[in-house]
């Protein structure tokens, strides 16, 4: 707009100037025409006057006046010269005296224009007369100039006045253009200030109103833009956060849109389906899904219908990992605003292999515990019933029953103690209540505790522990249970007359505790399995002895909690040695902490 006004301003001035020039030219032209007309008239007048003068002189009676007087009667300032010649060409009179001679031949009256002279020739009785008059020149006489130049000058003055007036009128427009240019240079809305608004005052007022409205709208837009930009950032952040949450979920997540096509999938789901997330989004299941069960379910979603409106569940084994079990769950996604409108479906993939294993092993564990608890109870119940009956009178049977009851009570009590310790450890969060104990004293206590059992079994229990062993930092109660379990096993699975040796040695880094027996030994293939819960060797000799299969697993757990290692060396038929290795540093470090 500013340029438009700028152009318009210059065009107006140029037009005005042209107008002025044209008017002046027109005035000049008019003056020239007038002058031309005057000149033509003057020439015509001159010719008439010259003829009349010649006729007048011819009409004078010859001899009435002398030729010189005759000529001198001509009083005309236009007369250039005059002469009167005799028929023979003799100059009778001339005016002025030095006038040039006329051509010799002559007719009656003849007018001849040559150069700037008009000459009249007339035959007179006295001779021939020639009168030469000055024709008016191409240029006006000085006296005529003012009259001729007045119109152009007036036109020029009027034109210039008009131009100046126009300039004055255009000035507000120029200021408007400058003001607009300044406004635009500031790149932001402001008021337009024109010192000489003139008749544009109203326009400037309206323009300022308009600028005010535009400025307000711009500020509003700017604030909306900032708001939108902030909202967009918040949205982007939320989207990233949602994406991160989706990706970090342990379950596979697939989101289907309302047409049943995948809208989003997380990495876990893509892994479980053995595909890439990019291959899934927006693509029908037959393009990327190789798992037949999943494919047929997703195909039902793509066909639409009732399947998307309720939750579905499907368990399958992945083609590549048939040993694993995946549970697929679908949930309809209803619009939060309108619960009758379905936005799509959420499909969850959960690897339930571990869950199933845990469930199975928990059930197995409970079954084992029940069995192991009921077995000693069973023996107790049967013996007590027998003792109440006729058998009670038999002294031999009573001794046998008492021994059996004592054995089973011991087994039950040890089983419960072990179960409780094991549960404490397996629940996690068990903090060892470590204390500094002298290893010699601890092992001696264990030796004494098992002495009666060893005696009953007819086994010699030997203790070979140097008194100067350094103190160790252990949970005394748990550590004692572990040692007792090892000793108890060594006695139980020994042969009558056999030996159990409890010994300890110190090296630079470690303390070793050995429980060595001369018993039935453990077959090589069973040496690792004995640390499984409830595992009992197939050997009939083992089965004859009351055991519950928790002693060794518990002992290993306890030693591992103390950052130690429990290992076994055994030769079937010769005996077994259990070795506990405790790192000295670990004990010392723990002590320091």
């Amino acid at each position: 707009m500013q340029e438009l006004i700028g152009q318009w301003r210059w065009k107006a001035e140029r037009t005005a100037l042209r107008g002025v020039a044209l008017t002046v030219l027109l005035a000049l032209g008019c003056s020239a025409l007038v002058y031309h007309g005057q000149r033509q008239r003057a020439r015509a007048e001159l010719a008439r006057d010259a003829r009349q003068a010649a006729e007048l002189l011819a009409a004078l009676p010859a001899g009435q006046a002398r030729p010189a007087r005759l000529l001198s009667a001509l009083r005309d300032e236009r007369l250039a010269w005059a002469e009167l010649r005799a028929a023979d060409g003799l100059l009778l009179a001339s005016l002025p005296a030095d006038a040039a001679p006329a051509p010799p031949q002559a007719a009656a009256t003849r007018i001849d224009r040559r150069g700037d002279l008009l000459t009249v020739h007339r035959r007179l009785p006295q001779g021939r007369l020639a009168l030469a008059y000055r024709l008016p020149g191409p240029w006006p006489a000085p006296a005529d100039w003012p009259a001729l130049l007045a119109p152009p000058l007036v036109a020029l003055a009027a034109g210039l006045a008009f131009f100046l007036y126009l300039r004055r009128e255009v000035r507000p427009l120029r200021e408007l253009a400058d003001g607009l240019r300044a406004l635009l240079a500031r790149r932001e809305p402001a008021r337009l200030v024109l010192p000489h608004a003139g008749h544009l005052h109203e326009l400037v007022l309206r323009l300022n109103e308009l600028l005010g409205i535009v400025g307000g709208r711009l500020r509003q837009l700017e604030s909306e833009r900032r708001g939108l930009s902030t909202s967009a950032q918040v949205l982007a952040y939320r989207r990233q956060r949602a994406e991160a949450v989706l990706q970090s979920l342990p379950d596979g997540v697939l989101v289907l849109d309302e047409t049943g096509l995948p809208a989003a999938i997380n990495g876990q789901a893509a892994r479980l389906l053995e595909t890439a997330p990019e291959a899934v989004t927006g693509q029908p299941a037959r393009r990327w899904c190789r798992q037949p069960e999943v494919l047929s379910l997703l195909a039902r979603f793509e066909q639409g219908g009732a399947v998307a409106w309720s939750s579905q569940q499907l368990d399958y084994h992945p083609l590549q990992q048939p040993e694993r079990k995946i549970r697929l769950l679908t949930f309809p996604l209803f619009s939060p605003v309108d619960e009758t409108s379905l936005l799509g479906s959420l499909v969850l993939f959960r690897d339930i292999t571990e869950e199933e294993l845990a469930r199975t092993s928990r059930a197995e564990f409970v079954a084992h515990v029940a069995h192991e608890l009921k077995s000693p109870l069973n023996v107790l119940a049967m013996y007590s019933e027998a003792l109440l009956g006729e058998d009670g009178a038999d002294p031999g049977f009573r001794t046998e029953a008492c021994n059996a009851i004592s054995d089973e009570v011991e087994r039950l009590s040890s089983l419960i103690a072990n179960l409780l310790s094991l549960t404490r450890i397996e629940m996690g969060g068990l903090s060892l209540s470590r204390q500094r104990v002298r290893l010699h004293a601890l092992l001696e206590d264990a030796h004494q505790h098992l002495a009666r059992q060893a005696k009953t079994a007819g086994v010699r229990l030997l203790l070979d522990v140097p008194r100067e062993l350094p103190p160790v930092s252990v949970d005394k109660a748990l550590f004692t249970v572990a040692i007792n379990n090892l000793l108890s096993n060594a006695i139980k699975y020994n042969r009558p007359g056999g030996t159990v040796t409890l010994s300890a040695r110190e090296t630079e880094q470690s303390i070793f505790i050995y429980v060595r027996d001369t018993g039935i030994g453990i077959a090589p293939e069973e040496q690792q399995r004995i640390f499984e819960k409830f595992y009992r060797a197939e050997d009939a000799q083992v089965r004859q002895r009351a055991g519950h299969g928790l002693g060794l697993p518990l002992a290993r757990e306890v030693i591992q909690l103390h950052h130690g290692v429990l290992s076994v060396e055994s030769r079937p038929g010769e005996g077994t040695t259990f070795i506990i290795e405790l790192a000295k540093e670990a004990g010392i470090l723990k002590q320091a902490i």
């Binding site: 608890l373 109870l377 119940a381 058998d391 009939a540």
Partner: protein, 127 residues
């Protein structure tokens, strides 16, 4: 009168001893095997008049023993008594296709076992 033969499959020495004593007193001839495998071999050799079996045993447990007997001797006449900590579970899970199968819960009462045997072991006429 021929004594009825009872075959006990149990790996617990105390249990076998007390059952043997009780059943012998009740007039049964008692044999025992420490696991299902030995018991199955003995059944093939000479089917007893009644089989008493524990569930958890080394090599072959009571469940497999019963299933093998059912498969190998579909027309057997002798009853099987299974001694278990969880009779409901065993009954629910695997007892369906096995005929003449009875469960007794641990802790076991020898007297009730004898009573059960008296009900289910056919008493052939005395010779």
């Amino acid at each position: 009168m021929t004594m009825k033969r009872v075959l006990i499959a149990d790996d617990e020495a105390h249990v076998v001893r007390i059952l043997q004593r009780t059943l012998e007193r009740a007039g049964y001839q008692v044999e025992s095997c420490p696991n299902g495998e030995a018991a199955l071999a003995r059944v093939r050799e000479a089917p007893p008049d009644v089989l008493i079996s524990d569930v958890q045993m080394p090599r072959m447990g009571g469940r497999e023993l019963c299933q093998r007997i059912q498969r190998e001797l579909p027309a057997r006449h002798f009853p099987i008594v299974v001694i278990t900590s969880r009779p409901e579970y065993e009954e629910r899970v695997w007892s369906h296709h096995i005929d003449n199968l009875h469960f007794m819960e641990k802790p076991l009462s020898p007297r009730r076992l004898v009573a059960l045997l008296e009900r289910h072991v056919s008493q052939p006429a005395s010779h």
